[in-house]
């Protein structure tokens, strides 16, 4: 399946799910700041990759899938777990891109905040899509 973007996902979501993720994101950023202040920047930096938001995202994905299947008269529990597992597989590839983001930021930091963040974000998206595409090609080749 090629990459696509479907706005129908908004109809599956409830307004409070966006609030939950906003609050969790805000809290994760605050907690990282507190940990940096208490235990130093080095420990705080670890928590930039804490999967705090992932717990909420995976649970919402599972819930959406179950809700969709139940509308069709099916149980959907297993389908929900599989959808969350696929999201986790994507997150594993995304973490490679996250490491690349950090490495790029370290290399480019001397150039100033804007160029460094812009370049590191570009590296992140290129590595993320590249890793996902390579995995897809390998899976297709293995299945053939």
């Amino acid at each position: 399946m090629p990459i696509s973007f479907s706005l129908s996902a908004f109809s599956d979501s409830r307004w409070y799910e966006y609030v939950v993720r906003f609050v969790l994101g805000g809290l994760a950023t605050v907690v990282t700041g507190i940990l940096s202040a208490l235990y130093g920047e080095s420990i705080g930096g670890l928590f930039l990759a804490l999967p705090a938001i992932f717990c909420a995202s995976a649970t919402l994905i599972e819930r959406h899938e179950i809700r969709r299947k139940r509308k069709a008269g099916l149980d959907g529990t297993r389908r929900g777990q599989t959808a969350a597992a696929l999201d986790a597989a994507g997150a594993a590839l995304g973490s490679i891109a996250m490491i690349s983001f950090a490495v790029a930021l370290l290399i480019l930091a001397q150039r100033g905040p804007l160029p460094a963040f812009f370049s590191a974000s570009t590296v992140w998206i290129v590595v993320a899509i590249g890793a996902w595409y390579v995995r897809r090609v390998l899976r297709v080749a293995r299945a053939a």
């Binding site: 990282t32 992932f54 995976a58 599989t82 594993a92």
Partner: protein, 113 residues
């Protein structure tokens, strides 16, 4: 206090943006890339840069590499638990935080401690 309110708002904003992109992206495995987006990092490192300067950003980004390795291990663990043990996403993701903590703090102690 103002700093933490600002952190909360900026962090919430970045996380929400990546979450919305992840929601509309298809297929699911591609959408998962956005679950591991550096959203908290963009907010935190941006603030750290203006507040504490380049050195603080370099220290945090170095640790983030180790946190990212732990995140990869965490994601694989969650995927395996969901596929093999067939438990719900919430218990799978929360219980696996132990894996992230152990690997992140272990790597930190080994390389940066």
């Amino acid at each position: 206090m103002t700093e933490y309110i600002l952190r909360f708002l900026i962090g919430g904003f970045f996380v929400s943006i990546f979450a919305i992109v992840g929601d509309v992206a298809r297929p699911k495995s591609f959408a998962g890339l956005f679950s591991a987006a550096p959203s908290v990092a963009l907010a935190t490192l941006g603030i750290a840069w203006f507040q504490h300067g380049l050195k603080a950003v370099e220290v945090q980004a170095t640790s983030m590499i180790l946190g990212g390795i732990a995140l990869a291990c965490y994601s694989v663990t969650v995927c395996q638990i969901l596929m093999r043990l067939r438990i719900g996403a919430l218990p799978a993701t929360i219980s696996s935080i132990v894996v992230w903590l152990a690997i992140a703090l272990g790597l930190h102690a080994m390389f940066l401690g």
